[in-house]
Amino acid sequence: MRSLLVSPRTFLLIPRCFLRANYHRLILTVSALAAGVALVCAIDLVNRSVIEAFEEIVDTMAGRAALQVSAGNGGLFPEETADTVNAVPGVELAVSAVGATAFVADGSGELLTVHGVDVTNDAAVRVYQARDPDRAGVKDPLAFLNQPDSVILTYEFAKRRRLRIGDPIELETPTGRHQFTIRGLLEPQGIARIHGGSLVVMDLFAAEAAFTQPGLINRIDVVVRRDADVTTVAERVGAVLPSGLRIAPPAQRKADLHKVMQSMQVVLRAVGLLGLAAAFLIAFNRLATVFDERAWQLGIMRATGVRAWSVWWELLKESLILGALGVAVGIPLGIGLGRLLLPIIATTTALSSKLTVPDATLVVRPSSLVVAAALGFATAVLAAARPAWRAARVNIAETIRGRGTEDVRIGGTTMWVVRSLALLSAIGMMTMQAAGGSPAWSLAATGAVLVTAALAARPLLHVVDIPMLHSVSQRNASGLFAVTGLARKPHRTALTIATLGVGFGTVIWIWIVAQSFEQSVIDASIGSLRGDIAVSSARVNDGFVEAPLDEAILSSLRHVAGVHTVIGEQMIDWHYAGGPVAISSFDPEYLSTGEFGRWTLIGESLPDVWEGFADGTMAIISSSLAFHLGTRVGENLTLDTPSGPLTVRVGGVLMTLISPRGAIIMSRALFKRYWHDTHVVHSLIRVDKSADVASVRASIARDLGTQHPLKILSLPELGQWFGEQVQRAFSGIYALAILILLVVLFGAADTLGAGVLERQRELAQLRATGVRARHVRRMVLIEAGLLGVLGLALAMAIGLTLGVFWVRETFPYMLGWVLDLHIPYGHLALISILSVMTCIVAAWLPAARAARLEPATGLRYE
C-alpha cells in the first residue's frame, strides 16, 4: 500500500529502469496490445454508433408519437383505422402514414425514404417536428395539394443535385418510373435531418397511389395526451385494433431492432475479443521471454532480500507501463479504425439485418474508450501475472548460477488438471449453449475453446517433437538447428504456436461461418426459386431484399415474346407466435402444375400438399420455423392478418433462409386476400420450349426496362447474386479478420526476433565455425515455417470446432438461422498457405538480422 502513495515516477522507478534496456524489444508487444485495444475500441464505438443511427431513425420517424400501429413490416390496412384509434380515450392524435422507399431514376439508384402524411393536417405535420408546408418553403400550398405529383425534398438533397422548387424529379416506385414536381424544401431538422437528407415527403393520397393502394396505409403514429399513461393507452388501442395489427412504442421497436442486430454485433464482439486474445498471447509470450531473460536479475533481487511478491509486483508494474503504452496507441488507432470501419459495418449490419443502411456518424463515447482501455490494461496485467509469478518464484541460487534454463517437462499434475478443467468448461459451456443458451454462453464457450486450445499447444509440441526432429533434422543442418532452437524453449514455442493457432483459427472460423451462410443462402434460394429467368427490381430495399414491384409487371412480362409462364413471389416480415417470421407467397400454379418442378421437402409431408398449397388450405414452413417453434407437418397455424385470423395447415417443411426465426410459405392468392398486398419481389419465368433464354432476357429488358430498372437473371445467377449479398454482409468481418492476421504477424515476428536476439552468441559461434550466412537465414526461416505448420494444426482444430459450434449451435439458438455446415476446403488450403507464408514473412527481418550478424560482435554479446 505504501508504494501506492508515492509519485508515479517513484512508483514505477524499478520497472522503468528495467524496461529502459528492453524498449526496442517490446515495441512489437506494445503494437500487438495496441492492435487488440484498437480492435475492441473500434468495434464498440462502431457497434454503438450503428445502433444509435438505427435508433435515431426510429425516434425521428416516430416524432412525438409515443405509439405506433403497424401490420408487420409494411403490411397494409385501411386508412379508417386511424379514426378508430383517434376515438380511444387518452389518444391526442392518430396520424395515418405511408412509409416506403423510392429510388432516384437517374441511373444512380439513390434510395429515398418516402414519408407520406396528410400535409393539410397541421397537427399531423407537427408530430414529426417538421415545419408546416407554408414554412417548409412550399411556395404554392394549393398547387401542392391539388397536384398528386407534388413532393417536398430536403435542402441537402436539392443542393447536392442542384434542384430547385418547381423542378421535376423522376422516381422509381413499385408501379414504375414516375415524374414528380418539387413543391417545397425542408430544413435539416426533424425527419429531414436523418437519412442524410435522402427523404421525400408527399401527401398521403399521393403516397397511397404510388406505394400502397388508395385508402390503404402501413402505419399510424399515435400521440398520447400528456396526462395519460402510455401503457394504458396502448392496451386500450390494442383492444380496438383488428387482429393482425399491433401497437408498440418506439422503445419496443428499438428493442426489436437490438434483437435483429444482435447477430452481427455478437459476431463483431467475438472477433474483437479474439483479437484481444491473440494480443494477450503475444504479450504473455513476450513478457515470459523477457522475464526469463532477466531471471538472473530477479535472482539477485531475491538474494538481496526482496520478497517474492515484491518482485512479482514490480514485474506487474512493467505490464502496467506496457498496457498504458498499448492503450495510448490503441485508443487513437481504434478511433481512426472505427471511422474507417463505420460505413462498412453499417452496411454489413443493414444487410444482415434486412435494414436500410443508415447515415451513421462515429460518436466517440468515453465509456467505449474506458472499456477498451480497461481491457487493454487487464490484458497486459493478466498476460504478465503468471510469467511474473514464475519469475519471482525461481530458485534463487540456481538462477544466479545457471542464468535460467527452461523446464522442458510439459507440466506437472497441476497443468494437466488446468487443461482438463478448461476442456470440461469448454464442453460444458457449449452444451449449455446447445441447450438453448444466450450470447453470453456462446461468447464464454468460444473463449473456453480458445483457452483449451492454447493450453493444448504444449502437449501438441511434445507429441510432434520427436517425429519433427527426425524428419527435419535429417534433411539439412539448418533444419537441425531450427528444430533444436524450438525444442530448447518449449514454453515459448508452445505459446507462439498458441498465438498462431488463435489468430489463424479465428480466420478459419470466420471463413467457415461466412461460407456456410453464403452457400446455405444460395442452396436455399436455388431450392425454392425455379424457372428459366428471374426478374426483380434492380434496387435493393432493405438489407439484400429487392424493392417490390407492382404485380402489373407480371402481366407485362406475359406479353413479352417467348415467355410461356410467369409466377409472382412476394415476401414480407410478419409476426407469429410472439416473434418475427417471414411470409413468402407464390402464385398457386407455381407448384400445382409441375411446370416449375417441385420443391424437395425435408422429412415427411402431406400427400396432397401441392393441391392444398394451390387452393390456400395448406402452407409450407421453413426448417428454421420447425426448429424454433417445434411446428410439425399436419398441424394448423393461425396467423393474425390485417383481414383477421387465417388458419392454414402445415403441408411440408422446406430449407429456406428468408428469415432467421422462420418462414411461412403460402399461395399468393391467399396472401393477397388477407394482406391486400399486390406487390411482388420476384417474377419467375418459364420460356417457350422453342425460345432462347438469352433472347427472351433481351426482350424483357427492351420492353420493360424503360418502365422499371430491372434485374433479369437466370436462376443460377440469382443464387450467385444472393451469395454476393452475403459476401457484402461479411465484408466488415473479413476486414477484421485481416486485422487479426496483422496482430498475429506481429506476434510471430516478435517471437522469432526474440529468439534471434537471445541466441546471438550461439549464432555467432555458428558463423565463427564457418556456417554461411544463408544457412543461418534458412535456419530462422525453417523455424518460422515449423511454427506456422504447428500453429496451423492448432488453428484447424480451433477454427473447425468454433465453425461447427457457431453454425450448428450459436446461429440457430441465438440468432435464429439454421444453416447447413459448409467447410470451405479450397479456402482452407489457401488460408493454410497464407498462414505459413505469414510466419515466413514475419521471420524475414529476424532471419536477415541473424544472417548479418558479425561473428566477433555476436561473441562479445552478453
Binding site: 522507478l13 524499478i14 528495467f18 528492453n22 539477485i300 538481496t304 532480500g305 520478497r307 517474492a308
Partner: protein
C-alpha cells in the same frame, strides 16, 4: 553448543541433492561458528560445497539436516518472506560476475535495495552517493551504465550495493574471480577495510590462496566436509602494494 552472539552459526549441516541411490551430498555434517566482526575465508576445489554453504548461510537454500543461525535466528523456522527481510537488512552479497543490472545507472544499481526498505528515492540516491564515495568511486560515474565501467569499478559498485542497507554480514562469492590480480587485490583491500573499520563480518569464498590470506581464519572444504579450519596471522594487502 554454538554461542548465540555469533554472526553465523552452522550446526551439523548436511545438504543432499536427489534421493536414494542417486543422492549426492553437497555438504556433510558441517559445523562452524563465525563471531561478529570475523573475516573468514572459505577455500576448496570446485564442487567442494563452498557455494552451497554460502547459499545456506544466505538462506537461499535449505539444509537437508542441521541448522543455520544468523545472529541466533534459525533460518529453518523463518518463512520465505522473513528470510528475505533478514537478507535485506543484515546480509550483503557480492558475486563473482558483479551482477549489476545493465539497464540501471550506477546510482540506481546501488540505491534500489533501499526502495524495498521503504526509504524515499531522493534519500536513497543521496545515500548511494555516499557509499559510492566510500568504495572509492567518483561522483561523475553515477549516471553511467555498468557496461561503461571497468571490471574493478563494476565490482566496487557491487560492493556499494551490498553495503547500502548497512548489513552486519558480507558474503562474497569469488569477488575477484573475474578481475586481474591488481584490481582483485584492490577489491580485497576494500573488503578488508570494511571489515576492520565497520566490524563487518565477512565470509569470502575463494579459490585463491592469496585472497584467503585476507581472512582471520581459513576454512577448507573438500567433498562437502571441513578438512581444515585454521587461524593465521593476517598478511593481507602486503604482498602487492596498491598502485605499484
Amino acid at each position: 553448543m554454538m554461542t548465540s552472539t555469533a554472526a553465523v552459526s552452522i550446526e551439523h549441516v548436511t545438504k543432499q541433492y536427489g534421493t536414494g541411490a542417486q543422492a549426492v551430498a553437497a555438504l556433510t555434517d558441517v559445523t562452524m561458528a563465525i563471531p561478529i566482526g570475523e573475516f573468514v575465508s572459505i577455500m576448496g576445489p570446485s564442487g567442494s560445497g563452498k557455494s552451497t554453504l554460502l547459499n545456506m548461510i544466505a538462506g537461499l537454500d535449505t539444509p537437508t539436516e542441521g541448522h543455520v543461525r544468523i545472529r541466533g535466528e534459525d533460518l529453518a523456522v523463518l518463512s520465505d518472506d522473513a528470510r528475505s527481510d533478514l537478507r535485506l537488512h543484515q546480509i550483503g552479497f557480492i558475486f563473482q560476475s558483479f551482477n549489476l543490472f545493465p539497464g540501471f545507472t550506477i546510482e540506481e544499481n546501488v540505491a534500489w535495495p533501499l526502495k524495498f526498505i521503504g526509504i524515499g528515492w531522493r534519500t536513497a540516491r543521496d545515500r548511494a552517493a555516499v557509499v559510492l564515495r566510500q568504495v572509492g568511486l567518483a561522483a561523475a560515474i553515477r549516471t553511467r551504465r555498468p557496461s561503461e565501467l571497468s571490471g574493478g569499478e563494476q565490482q566496487r559498485v557491487a560492493i556499494a550495493r551490498a553495503l547500502i542497507t548497512e548489513p552486519s554480514l558480507l558474503l562474497a562469492d569469488e569477488p575477484t574471480g573475474n578481475l586481474d590480480t591488481r584490481t582483485g587485490q584492490a577489491i580485497l583491500d576494500l573488503i578488508l577495510q570494511l571489515n576492520t573499520e565497520r566490524k563487518l563480518s565477512v565470509i569470502l569464498v575463494t579459490h585463491s590462496t592469496f585472497a584467503a590470506t585476507y581472512g582471520h581464519r581459513t576454512v577448507e572444504l573438500q567433498d562437502g566436509r571441513i578438512v581444515r579450519d585454521v587461524r593465521a596471522p593476517r598478511q593481507a594487502g602486503r604482498l602487492i602494494p596498491i598502485g605499484a
